[in-house]
């Protein structure tokens, strides 16, 4: 049995809020920049008549943009050598590298331009597993997104693999 990669103080954080709540008004220019950067030119992101014809109140957004809309502005002094921000949301683990394992999303209500979206991220799960290449930690962060009417519009689970 290999030693634990998860310090007890990190394990104790399961369930804790890692980031937020942060509230942001969804901006059409930012959403459209995102859609262009993806190459997703769906008219419901650019043309109000098309969005309304498709049943939306007004322009809607690429589904995953919501997570980027909520990134808080930070000073460059907070950047690390690798370009990432020094982040209070980092969970301490006895590992060398965190990799992006995948995501799971549920979309519950439409999100449109000018909606006020609040995101709260929790540490949902921390679990040490044994793989072919040795022990690794599966870390799951869950973000819940609600709108100005307190409807949950989306949930995302981001899965990190640390070894």
């Amino acid at each position: 049995m290999s030693s634990s990669l998860i310090p007890p103080e990190s394990l104790a954080r399961v369930g804790e809020i890692l980031a937020g709540p942060i509230t942001v008004r969804i901006d059409s220019r930012e959403a459209q920049r995102y859609a262009y950067a993806v190459g997703d030119l769906n008219p419901i992101y650019f043309d109000e008549d098309s969005a309304k014809a498709a049943g939306y109140r007004t322009l809607t957004i690429p589904p995953l943009f919501i997570t980027h809309a909520l990134v808080p502005p930070k000073p460059t002094e907070a950047l690390r050598t690798d370009g990432l921000y020094k982040d209070s949301a980092t969970v301490t683990l006895e590992v060398e590298r965190m990799m992006f394992g995948g995501e799971e999303w549920d979309f519950l209500e439409p999100v449109c331009i000018d909606d006020e979206i609040t995101g709260t991220t929790r540490l949902l799960d921390l679990d040490q597993k044994e793989g072919k290449k040795g022990s690794f930690v599966r870390l799951v962060r869950e973000t819940t997104f609600t709108n100005q009417n307190e409807q949950v519009v989306a949930r995302s689970r981001q899965i990190g693999i640390a070894r």
Binding site: D40, I44, L64, H68, D82, G83, G102
Partner: protein, 141 residues
Amino acid sequence: MTNYPTMETVELGDELPVMHKRVEEAELFLYSAASFNPHRIHYDRAYAQYEGHQDIVVHGPLQGSWLTQFVTDWAGPRSRLLSVEWQNRASAFVGDELYFSGSVISINQTNGSVELEINERKEDGSLLMPAKATIKLEETK
């Protein structure tokens, strides 16, 4: 006028049209900017290689957004995406030829949705991102 799938026309095993993506440095830079992501492996080749990557790395969430585009391009603007999930099995790099393919694996007549199984692969067929999605199809008038 494009004919998008409806609950009347969709069949188990239907295949989505393959979507091709290839991005160069400028597109990856734009995605970093649009997603407020300063991670160096997405624009600095020397740094990416120092971290052990063969080249500039394509962002995982960019491939996630390609996945949602792949599904909504097929199902049309009146569809409603209900869920997606994906696993990042291997990295994609700048200039790679990437292909999304998928098919209908179940049909839920109760809520008018279908479940799709999707794969993103490189030109050599290697699997980058297995994925699933459920989407409520356009209702016929």
